[in-house]
Symmetry: C2
């Protein structure tokens, strides 16, 4: 299988290096051949080529079986009004590769509950799988400016078509069948027309194709509350691009272990893109203390979803569980106690 590595910026290269070793170990132990190739994205791509996603990167990614990304961005490229910005690479690769579904599993680790800002009894046992729509909505709608009442007005359009809603709700429904058989769709249908379309289409997909799966709808503002008051009640959650951006980040705090959360961005066919959800953490870049576990769990998702290597994926996940249960911690999880570095944590899992 061909796997493209996109180390990116900040701690990206360090954690992707660990992932590379892990892939090597999986290949050895299970008798596979992985062809690994690195390419540029983000700030480093801007510095070397003038664009956040060089054409060459896009080409090798499209030709691969899967893509593993570290992180993009950093203070050097942090001006949101600059015309070339690292996150453009991320937005463009999502769109160009047709990665319309961002999957974010949010589960708590019993041994890390004390690190959560939420009370242990609230978050214990939380296990949510988010499906965030990733190539539509306000991220990719028309934008512009015009005069109105003699004043400049700037706008972004939040737009959806039925087919965009159908395909992601379908993925959510299928995932729910393999889990606790419950889908919650989140919108703002009491105010937005586009949310009323979302609600209508989602309901019809669920009714016609997934009548065996429990289904409900929640308004986005209420969901921001429910995630804190009763996170255990949710199984699969499906929502649009902007609401998903906000809610998945909120939900990621539930676990108290941002450094353990992977995500997958997938399309109908073709390679998927896998990454840790944390950022490039410029403050600790190069220090060898970054937590590689989210990236290793992203590798597990990659093996499962893009290469259908379920046993291998589970082996990594079990290794991560084991290492945590044995009490090993990188600095971000150590809460001032003893901690180990990126390499060492990686070796333990491998």
């Amino acid at each position: 299988a061909k796997i493209v590595l996109l180390p990116g910026d900040g701690i990206g290269p360090e954690i992707v290096a660990v992932a590379e070793k892990c892939l090597g170990a999986v290949a050895d132990q299970f008798g596979h051949q992985f062809h690994l190739q690195s390419a540029l994205i983000g700030g480093i791509a801007i510095d070397q080529t003038g664009t956040a996603l060089p054409d060459e990167t896009l080409e090798v990614c499209k030709a691969a079986d899967a893509v593993l990304l570290g992180a993009v961005g950093g203070p050097k490229w942090d001006d949101p009004t600059a015309s070339v910005r690292p996150e453009q690479g991320l937005l463009k690769i999502r769109k160009e590769m047709g990665l319309y579904a961002n999957l974010r599993p949010i589960r708590t680790y019993e041994s890390l509950l004390d690190a959560s800002p939420l009370k242990n009894e609230i978050v214990r046992g939380t296990d949510i799988l988010f499906f965030r729509e990733l190539t539509g909505g306000i991220y990719f709608g028309n934008s512009g400016q015009r005069e109105e009442n003699g004043e400049e007005l700037v706008f972004n359009e939040m737009a959806y078509r039925p087919s965009e809603i159908e395909r992601i709700v379908r993925l959510a429904g299928e995932a729910a069948r393999k889990r606790r058989e419950k889908v919650t769709s989140v919108d703002k249908a009491n105010v937005l027309e586009v949310s009323r379309l979302w609600r209508r289409v989602a309901a019809s997909v669920m009714k016609e194709e997934f009548s065996d799966v429990e289904y409900d709808v929640v308004l986005v503002d209420a969901m921001a509350m429910h995630l804190l008051s009763r996170p255990r009640d949710f199984d699969v959650v499906v929502t649009g691009n902007l609401f998903g951006d906000i809610l998945t980040d909120e939900a990621s705090m539930l676990t108290g272990s941002l450094g353990l959360l992977p995500s997958a961005s997938i399309g109908s066919d073709g390679p998927g893109l896998y990454e840790p959800i944390h950022g490039s953490a410029p403050d600790i870049a190069g220090k060898g203390i970054a937590n590689p576990l989210a990236t290793l769990l992203a590798v597990a998702m990659l093996l499962r979803h893009s290469l259908a290597l379920e046993t291998e994926a589970t082996a990594i996940e079990n290794a991560v569980d084991g290492v945590l249960e044995a009490g090993h911690r990188t600095a971000d999880l150590a809460r001032g106690g003893p901690s180990i570095g990126t390499q060492e944590m990686g070796q333990l899992v491998i």
Copy 2:
């Protein structure tokens, strides 16, 4: 002073009745004359007049010094695709009265920390004042549908003009001067053009008019995390309509006491609208167990902001603090322990 009461739906009438008594007590004790008048809004207005905000209601509100709202909505009118819906009354009254700023104070009560889903040491001492823009953004932008690639597409426009941003940032800056002198503006400037306008205008107002006030910017997804990991770090937070809707609801859960949170919607001049942030709670409507404290704290905000009665406002706030410290609890705060009803709680404060 003329005060219009809009009891609305569900528990609205019960809690507004307590507020009415409280206003009577303030008038007696401090020697004021309040002219109180009730009007229809929400579901009850739909039932009686066919519209969620009758013209007559709007007229009496515009002619008043302040408006006190209970809550609107309930299962009877809960279809978001219906053409007449209770929340339209709320959206319309905000727009028609020019209430462009929604103020939501989020503070924790030491004696109620155990009821928060967050760990006590995280939320203890939280004291945030949100300024949510309330008459612009995606709530009031153009919406519609059109054909694209042979498919129906539905859209809502998130739009802002500089003057809309300036006036709310100015209010936030002024409020910060009376507090801890820090303003945080929240946007999504790494993706949205409209957020880049927001960021540019906010920065220039803060720099030119409030150089004495500390100022920073946070992306909306990051803010959804920071509110949980370090809520104490925020003083005044200013943001757009949709982001404010989601973030203030998220923040309201920090306190563990939704039943204690008031909000004020104000414009440049003219009457303000004051309400508890909780909803109409149809499940407990008519049972006499609803918590009236948020509504009484809304009355305090009304006295302070619209009638400049600072002493009277503080008297109510102190009475609420005192009643809570003495251990009195309505059912929502009692966590299974002994509780008192709406009337009794109201009388204790009065």
